[in-house]
């Protein structure tokens, strides 16, 4: 039977949906024992065309696919490449870590809804990153730096397990030096050389002074962090709409079909991964 809904189907190239586009790794950097950075370029030279907060599906045939956030800003000088940073945790990510400059891999995407840049514009932005949460947030931070005049005050709070787990340390040095950015970092456990803050990320919150009428908080980190950080932000007077989060769920298709990422009637891959706290608050299983 011809589908009544056929018209829509015509607008999508039939072979596009699940086919990865060929790309090549142009630079890598081992960031920590378990995290590796990759700069990637499409073989056809096209830019990825993403927004901060979106993600892609990396593909290695014979192994499979994995969703990863994009850590470079679309405003980056060389638009023909983009960057990801991946933690080695299992089958796919181990295979990926074996790849190096010149190796090829497949890319699907970008997928999902990025951070609401237009709403952030003209306002103060408080960025709170825990662990791997810095990956998609680096895209946003660098976007803001490249368009600095479009935003008000910018504060970055970073938390990680230990000094050796810090990602993007070169970027961090720069953020720390910049006069128009407030930057603070804390580690759960220090080592002898560490001179900075020690303690979980919420220990940085009392030192943060925000104008609750013009501040958006963008928070990305492990599930456990959300509970505590959200409570602190609400205490500071931010409304539920001014708190923006990004969720991690198991993802297979990235297209709102396979069901893996579903929370209630929401598909994280398509409706998210970024959400306002207001959108998530009433949803069981979300936070």
């Amino acid at each position: 039977m011809q589908s009544k809904l056929l018209k829509k189907e015509m607008t999508i190239p039939a072979d596009f949906l699940y086919s990865p586009r060929a790309a090549t790794i142009v630079k890598t950097k081992q960031m920590t024992a378990n995290e590796k950075f990759f700069e990637i370029k499409f073989d056809d030279g096209e830019p990825l065309g993403h927004e901060p907060g979106q993600f892609i599906q990396l593909s290695i045939f014979g192994i499979g696919e994995a969703p990863v956030g994009i850590c470079s800003s679309p405003t980056k000088e060389d638009r023909s490449t983009f960057e990801v940073c991946v933690r080695k945790v299992g089958t796919f990510t181990n295979a990926l870590h074996k790849l190096d400059v010149g190796d090829k891999l497949g890319i699907r995407g970008p997928y999902g809804r990025g951070f609401p840049i237009d709403e952030l514009k003209g306002n103060d932005v408080l960025i709170v990153a825990g662990g791997l949460g810095i990956v998609p947030l680096r895209s946003l931070i660098n976007f803001i730096i490249d368009r600095r005049r479009d935003f008000g005050n910018v504060m970055i709070l970073l938390g990680c397990k230990g000094p050796k787990d810090r990602l993007f340390t070169d970027d961090m040095k720069e953020w720390e030096r910049m006069l128009n950015i407030n930057y603070a970092c804390t580690v759960d456990r220090a080592d002898p050389d560490w001179k900075g803050n020690v303690g979980v990320i919420t220990t940085l919150m009392p030192g943060v002074h925000i104008d609750k009428n013009r501040t958006y908080a963008v928070v990305v980190g492990p599930p456990i962090m959300y509970k505590f950080v959200i409570a602190e932000l609400l205490k500071k007077g931010l409304s539920e709409n001014q708190i923006i989060l990004s969720l991690e769920r198991r993802m297979k298709c990235g297209l709102g079909k396979c069901g893996h990422c579903q929370i209630n009637s929401v598909y994280v891959c398509k409706d998210g991964p970024t959400f306002t706290y207001a959108e998530l608050k009433g949803l069981g299983e979300a936070l």
Binding site: L5, I12, A14, S19, F61, E248, C253, H260, S265
Partner: protein, 348 residues
């Protein structure tokens, strides 16, 4: 011409004429159950049948669907073609047709899925209307799927001495064409009235299955998220995933790569998955967003009676009863929903 008639003894001849141009899949007997299978001999077709073990979704969303093939050292897919023989799905019940409609909505939602789309286009659906209840597990009366609605090319109705065929699409018309085995219907209005009357009467043979009205169902789920019923159901469920495999509207899938033995290449395919399995929503690091069986069972029910209504304005339970029939823990959809309905009423 929207209606034609067919003498009952001519049915095999009809099927045979279809076989000349199409692969014909129809309900056939398998031990004491029924399955949809490709038929060789028209006599195999069993129109008087209980819902089949698997619904016809297997023809639209096969358990394994090749998304594309790849060759060694290449990172783009070599081909994404799928072969779909022109097929006739013969004798599908109205509940199963409604199930296909649900899948159709999902897979045509942007971005539309070309694999499903190609299959849907290649399969002609000839329905067969139920005149009597199949067993105590189906809920087609409550779910309003007992009578033909939409989504088929031809509907066959047994009016006693013969069949009436209703033609619902150009493809259906193409099949009936000028085939002399069909009889002309003199007065289409009379036939229409007769069918309406027949449907009014047949409902009396079906008992009301869920203690709630179609319109009330969604409201019940609106207040049932934290019901203790989920704990009861969760305690009994063994997470085998049978209920989702046999459900005509369950479509969750996994994506896997299969490498050829000589390592020269392979294929990427999507494979039916089940939200009832423990690892379905688990991410690395062990975080599992539906760790409890109760939350996974709730998820299954909510996908049928609540989430789908929010997202697609439609119930995704078509009342076929398969999930109850197949469950080895005796979890019954009717009992579960009745329990929720009772709680909902008491809370009011």
């Amino acid at each position: 011409m929207r209606y034609v008639s067919l003498q009952k003894d001519k049915l095999p001849q009809f099927v045979n004429s279809l076989q000349k141009k199409y692969k014909v899949v129809a309900p056939v007997k398998k031990e004491n159950l029924f399955v949809f299978a490709t038929i060789e001999d028209p006599e195999e077709v069993e129109l008087d049948y209980m819902p089949t073990i698997l619904p016809p979704k297997k023809y639209f969303l096969p358990q394994h669907e090749k998304l594309g093939s790849f060759v060694k050292d290449n990172v783009a897919m070599a081909d994404t073609n799928i072969d779909v023989e022109p097929t006739v799905l013969f004798g599908a019940h109205t509940c199963d047709i409604e199930g296909i409609e649900c899948l159709d909505i999902v897979f045509h939602d942007t971005p539309a899925d070309p694999y499903f789309g190609r299959r849907k286009k290649s399969i002609i659906i000839i329905g067969y209307e139920c005149m009597k209840p199949c067993d105590e597990y189906s809920t087609c009366v409550t779910m309003d799927t007992l009578n033909p609605r939409a989504g088929y090319d031809i509907m066959i109705t047994d009016i006693g001495d013969k069949y009436i065929l209703y033609i619902n699409s150009p493809e259906g018309m193409g099949i009936i064409g000028k085939n002399p085995i069909f009889g002309k219907v003199e007065n289409e209005r009379d036939v229409k009235t007769k069918l309406l009357k027949l449907r009014e009467d047949k409902v009396k043979n079906f008992k009301v299955q869920i203690d709630a009205d179609y319109k009330e169902l969604n409201k019940i789920f609106g207040t049932s998220y934290n019901s203790k019923t989920w704990q009861d159901v969760g305690k009994r469920c063994v997470s085998c995933g049978n209920c989702t495999a046999v459900c005509p509207t369950c479509y969750c899938f996994d994506i896997n790569d299969e490498v050829k033995l000589d390592m020269s290449g392979g294929k990427r395919e999507r494979v039916w998955d089940s939200c009832q399995l423990d690892e379905f929503a688990m991410v690395t690091g062990g975080e599992n967003f539906r760790k409890e069986r109760s939350s996974r069972q709730r998820h299954r029910y909510y996908r049928k009676f609540d989430y789908s209504v929010k997202k697609y304005s439609k119930f995704f339970c078509v009342g076929c009863g398969r999930c109850t029939r197949t469950c080895m823990a005796d979890i019954s959809l009717i009992e579960t929903v009745n329990e929720l309905a009772k709680e909902h009423k008491n809370a009011k």
